[in-house]
């Protein structure tokens, strides 16, 4: 949520949610207020109804990809820029399978090791005439594929100045995310864990801090293993989730795409609905009074304070 929106929700201790377009605070009344219809994500001038950004790599077939896309409800899809295969004259571009759908295209700069390389890939991608969004992805290590913060910073700055809508894939470092935002990122995309590992959110605490500080949408990207990770990210206050491998490599990618869609919606709704604080000990769901067995003295328990999470 942008700072200007934080005021009317200042009574809440929740992290702020960037990119909100809700008409009224969902915290003020019943869950109907938080229905998906009013809860859009503003990103790069687009009004997105789905908070699921789907990657298109490693699907078993173009048909499965297409069906998974339908099941996901995703409005933004990512892909990579690679050299054309000269041995084939058939169009093997991923785009031919998805062009009939109304989608926003988010090419990434994967393969880039430096800001220069990322800028070059971004310009090539833009020349394809499919918009000016770019996911800056600059790997600093081939084994972990973790992003190089310095090069990511440089590329974000240059591409934002060059008129791109820059979504920066980054480490889950709150200060770095803030710096990327200041450099012109339209959204920051902290990774939950290294790309393709499925390890989930290794540092939910940091992700929470990033969300709290951000004035741009925070999109949790990379490392998501299953829908529960996606739901967790949304409950932490992420504006959206980007996932690829956990869908593409699932036994049934189409069903998994739907599961992710539901989890992301559930996580989002839960975030808006406001979860209970965590407590160390139990508190009964029904009041003690009127108990059949007449225990009139309440048990002595330590003060049950909420645990920050």
């Amino acid at each position: 949520m942008a700072k200007h929106e934080s005021e009317r929700l200042s009574k809440q201790s929740e992290p702020q949610l960037p990119g909100e377009t809700r008409n009224s605070s969902p915290f003020s009344s019943g869950p109907a207020q938080a229905s998906a219809g009013q809860d859009c994500l503003l990103l790069g001038g687009q009004r997105l109804h789905s908070r699921f950004l789907m990657g298109t790599g490693r699907f078993p077939s173009p048909w499965v990809l297409q069906e998974a896309l339908k099941a996901s409800g995703a409005e933004v899809i990512t892909f990579a820029v690679r050299r054309v295969n000269m041995d084939s004259v058939e169009d093997d571009s991923v785009l031919q399978h998805v062009t009939e759908r109304q989608l926003t295209y988010l090419p990434n700069t994967s393969g880039a090791k430096t800001a220069d390389e990322a800028v070059r890939i971004a310009r090539l991608a833009r020349a394809a005439g499919l918009g000016n969004w770019i996911k800056v992805e600059i790997s600093g290590n081939p084994r972990t594929l973790l992003p190089d913060p310095f090069e990511t910073m440089k590329a974000t700055e240059r591409l934002a100045k060059d008129g791109f809508v820059v979504l920066s894939y980054t480490s889950d470092d709150p200060i770095l995310c803030k710096r990327l935002e200041e450099a012109g990122a339209a959204a920051v995309m902290p990774g939950g864990s290294p790309i393709g590992t499925g390890l989930g959110l290794l540092n939910p605490y940091n992700l929470g801090l990033i969300v709290e500080e951000a004035n741009v949408p925070v999109i949790v990207d990379a490392g998501i293993g299953s829908p529960k990770d996606a739901a967790e990210a949304m409950e932490l206050g992420a504006a959206a989730v980007l996932a690829n491998t956990p869908i593409a490599k699932a036994t049934d990618p189409v069903a998994m795409a739907r599961a992710f869609r539901l989890a992301i919606e559930a996580g989002r709704l839960a975030k808006l609905a406001g979860r209970i604080p965590k407590k160390r000990y139990a508190s009964a769901s029904s009041s003690e009074s009127g108990s059949l067995f007449g225990a009139s003295i309440p048990p002595k328990i330590p003060p049950a304070e909420g645990i920050a999470w």
Partner: protein, 282 residues
């Protein structure tokens, strides 16, 4: 010696002949030839006033610049200079090469028409940058001149090291014969600009030239690999590679070339080309 980069790569030279296309604008017809793949263009206007020729020259200079094609003016070094053309083309009866060179300086192209090996050698010795050799066949453009036949094309190609352009009565139907005689560059006039579809005729001629294989291949780097090619332009290369149907992006020597510019982009020796597209990714 010309300073214009890569002009020697030309293969299809087209000369204006406004009387061949009454009712159609010169610029429109010539643009069609460029769209069809003409890669050298000459303004020849023997009847107009100098003012008229200069105006046409300026307009054609602007047009050819848009397509990255060298532009030559027939006869008039002063007009060539004023219109910022790339050079002049002289006839045997026009001013001597040395005089034209003195007026134009070393940075411009000077070409001259030749009808025999002696003239070809003399032209090369005098500092001509290329020679026209012809008329190969009897031609409407120069009806009073006897055809030199393809035999002269063979002799000229062997005699001189500067580019030789076969000219005179060349059409898509007889181009193969001329190329078989050793020609690597063709020039056509009425067959192209007198046609209803100049672009189609140019394309047909370029295909014939490419098929003859008489062209020395250029070595470029394509997606990181050495790639010898007979293509002189980007659109042609992509077509030859069978990649024309793909939604791809071309980057030449570090600069993205929009699809609309492919036909105007010359490939030079040592060029670095990347052809990329989108694949699945996260």
């Amino acid at each position: 010696m010309s300073e214009i980069k890569n002009w020697r790569n030309f293969r299809l030279y087209v000369i204006t002949a406004a009387d061949c296309h009454p009712g159609r604008e010169l610029i429109q017809v010539m643009e069609q030839t460029l769209i069809g793949g003409a890669d050298m263009l000459q303004l020849r206007n023997k009847t107009g006033s100098k003012r008229e020729v200069l105006e046409q020259a300026k307009a054609l200079r602007e047009l050819t610049s848009k397509y990255g094609v060298p532009f030559i003016v027939n006869d008039h070094p002063d007009i060539a200079l004023e219109a910022e053309a790339d050079g002049v083309h002289l006839g045997q009866e026009d001013m001597p090469i040395a005089e034209a060179r003195q007026r134009l300086g070393s940075g411009k192209i000077i070409g001259i028409s030749t009808q025999c090996v002696e003239q070809a050698l003399a032209a090369q010795a005098a500092g001509a940058d290329y020679i026209g050799a012809g008329p190969v066949f009897p031609t409407r453009t120069k009806p009073d001149r006897a055809a030199v036949t393809t035999e002269y094309i063979r002799q000229a190609a062997e005699a001189v090291s500067i580019p030789v352009v076969a000219i005179g009565g060349i059409t898509p139907d007889n181009a193969e014969t001329v190329l078989a005689a050793g020609a690597k560059r063709l020039c056509a006039v009425s067959a192209i600009v007198g046609s209803e579809d100049p672009a189609a005729v140019c394309l047909a001629l370029r295909k014939t030239i490419a098929a003859a294989g008489g062209w020395q291949k250029r070595l470029i780097t394509l997606n990181g690999l050495a790639h010898p090619t007979s293509a002189s332009r980007l659109d042609e290369l992509i077509h030859l590679l069978g990649q024309g149907e793909k939604r791809l992006v071309a980057e030449l020597d570090g600069t993205v070339v929009p699809r609309s510019q492919w036909a105007r982009t010359l490939l030079s020796e040592g060029a670095k080309l990347e052809l990329v597209h989108f694949v699945g990714g996260g």
